[in-house]
Symmetry: C2
Subunit: 362 residues, 2 copies
Amino acid sequence: MTEAPMTAQAASTATAGDILSRHLTVQAGAFLRALPLAVGEVGARPGTASTVPSAGTSDLLRAVRRIGGLLHTFGSVFEQTWAQESRTELRWLLNLLALEPGYLRRSARLLGALDLLSGTDPEGTGMLAGHAGAPKARALLDRQLTLARTRAHSTVLQELRSARLHALADRMTLLVGEAPLLDSADGRAPAVLLPQAAAAFAALSAGAQQLPLQRAATPYGGDGLRRLGAVPASRGATDADTALAADDAPWARLRILVKRARYVLEVCGRASSELDGLDAVLDRQQEAADAAVTAATAARTPRITPATAYVLGVVHADQRLEVESARYAVGRRWPDLPPGPDGWLELVPADAWGHSVAPRTV
Amino acid sequence: MTEAPMTAQAASTATAGDILSRHLTVQAGAFLRALPLAVGEVGARPGTASTVPSAGTSDLLRAVRRIGGLLHTFGSVFEQTWAQESRTELRWLLNLLALEPGYLRRSARLLGALDLLSGTDPEGTGMLAGHAGAPKARALLDRQLTLARTRAHSTVLQELRSARLHALADRMTLLVGEAPLLDSADGRAPAVLLPQAAAAFAALSAGAQQLPLQRAATPYGGDGLRRLGAVPASRGATDADTALAADDAPWARLRILVKRARYVLEVCGRASSELDGLDAVLDRQQEAADAAVTAATAARTPRITPATAYVLGVVHADQRLEVESARYAVGRRWPDLPPGPDGWLELVPADAWGHSVAPRTV
């Protein structure tokens, strides 16, 4: 198994297993190279760091997302129990690794928003310029997010030494060249892989259809603040937390479906800049929604002053506005994307799995 | 002096004074008919009423705005001291009459926004759904606005019986058929009126050029919340109130210039639906900006709970978002409007003042 292009003859007879094994080998290799770097970085980090994850962690997250995505989309050709367990363990590591950089980004987002809103720069004066509650709210948010990040750091440090991570590393070692495939993986690549790719695209289209994309594409429609999506009757709609969680859930789901579709296209050696852009906007949507929750939670801290609470109310609304703005961008981009699964499949080159495609490692 | 069309021959020799006198006669007549109705309405009102001004007050405001606008735009053909004094007195009455309906509209706007933001309707759940501070903030806003409206009502009741109003009514009686014109009003209508109309359109174009209309036309650009206009150095930029007032001022100015331009076109017997639409959007912009100030002021009430203050922060941001949304609408509409004074003058029919045009009384 090698990354070098196969000869045309060998390629035309490639099985689904060949194609997937090759990709998984590359990603598992990236995982194993990045893991010690990431562990070293987390250990060296004093708890405060920059807002972008360090190189090792970043590479590790990248590999984890892709392996998990492929095991999901093309799951039926792998040994079922193994694939399920691997996905569970990868999701565990993903959530663990994403925790600390997530808090760092959230901190940068919220404190940055507060600084803009309370800024007195003539070029960008904010509606809270010079407000007495602004420094207090800033200190409160900073304190709470630093605490959360420090706790996350301890958890990550501890888990990175755990037997669970070693077991996952062993799984990844196995994946290099020896993915546990079922007999169905012996079929020719297009016949086996295309229907599963189509299912991923169908899930993406279905996920998008559940969203009010047309309404979101109307600027200032109030989707982020005033007109949250309907709460399923079973969950009740008595409080804002439930309503906001129910409103954000289908968008969070779309983000996952977009990522899976991106990884499928990568397996075809095809990049979609539209899909990459959509993924970035949905990341922004998600981060703003999470930051809004943090602002709302901070406002419930006992014994804060009314001025602090008032500023947090403005920050909360500002982040929900960011949510609305990101959804507007999604609503505007969506019509330019291929409609339905068939539209996406047209992006798959006819000979996608007929000749060798060098898997992307970035 | 009559509203019936003049013969074509008489019309072709109409002087500027003829045209303006005819319009002012109609508007002054409307003023004198609406005045007793408006006085009766204010007297009969118990202090709480609907959000639209009653018919008499509405008609009176309409006539006051138009007479004031024409005396400003075509001021040079009137006896100067008389025109200046008349405008001052009309502005006094305008501010007086607008006070109570203004508070009614602001109350409806703020309580309506709060109800949407805290609503639990499955079709329109708000980000404050079920929040404990929402009923408290609602009661606070309602109480403060009702108090302000009651005070305004007393002031209006008192002033409507004042000698000042009687003197203004006498001025309007004089205006019916006998506007105090200078000799220059004897010139032919187009020669005298067109340059003054052009000056009004030039002021409108210049007012618009001072605004970041192109930036405003970008959705979610943050103009209402994060990027307020620069505060003139002389006024300092140390607090949000100064920054917001400085930010809103040029937009408030544009609103007045649009109204004046509308009244000029009316004198030409020409309606501009684009200008009417722009006027309505600028009204919305102004009302949202005023409502935002009310929310911010309410949040400074001593001894309110943090939950109340938090909700008022969200409402404040929501109204600034409305400001941004209205400015977006202005930024989108402006390019479709005639560019520069010459563009506007092309809307003036070549024979605008060559044949009789029935002045509009609504």
